[in-house]
Symmetry: C2
């Protein structure tokens, strides 16, 4: 595999409990143009960086239920995984400049957002 | 925003046209335990790093159709975006050791895989 830089740059932060995607202090302004075309009512997939996750965990009890046998993290939605990306399907509730108010979403306040995509009916690709 | 390392480590590579998720030379063996519990027929979301994407593009013509007005990349599924993550919903066709054969998926041969998650019926979180 060739050497590549796989470094993510946050495009915003999640603000909870207001469930608001605000810009990141540094990069937010730079990428605001990327939001153009997003409208109230749109269904989006927000991709977050689960910054409090443990990256060295490969097996976990699904749903944190210790009575359920251990499973590989890729067979679960556990935040603990080698690359702690979170996928959150949300609806745009309102738009305030560069801030999107979305819901429902369960994430820790200050969780970095790394990408936003529209939901496709046949979400096969990219 | 606190300083954090948002570096992804590929967990595998996509091999096309066989649509096979093979391990990455270095990290693949290390994370194989994370696949335990994945079974033939499972619906998965494969998250890729779209390594040939342009990261400095913020507006694009949806579906590469220049007759469609420019839209912000976050309102499209364009691979060109600040953090070029791809989402691919696939079915597990067969499993051969640490290789998952999946489909359908459209991606360039050698595309790095950074995460795999089960599809949830109500895919609200993480």
């Amino acid at each position: 595999m060739r050497e590549t830089d796989y470094s993510l740059s946050p495009i915003g932060l999640l603000h909870s409990p207001l469930k608001e995607l605000g810009e990141a202090p540094n990069q937010g302004r730079a990428v605001a143009a990327g939001l153009e075309g997003i409208a109230v009512g749109d269904e989006l997939i927000v991709i977050t960086w689960l910054h409090q996750a443990q990256r060295d965990i490969l097996k976990t009890h699904p749903r944190n239920d210790e009575t359920v046998p251990l499973a590989g993290v890729f067979a679960t939605r556990s935040p603990d995984r080698p690359n702690p990306l979170g996928l959150h399907q949300v609806t745009v509730l309102s738009i305030d400049g560069k801030r999107l108010h979305v819901g429902p979403i369960e994430a820790i306040d200050g969780t970095p957002v790394v990408d936003i995509k529209p939901v496709l009916l046949q979400s096969a690709n990219a």
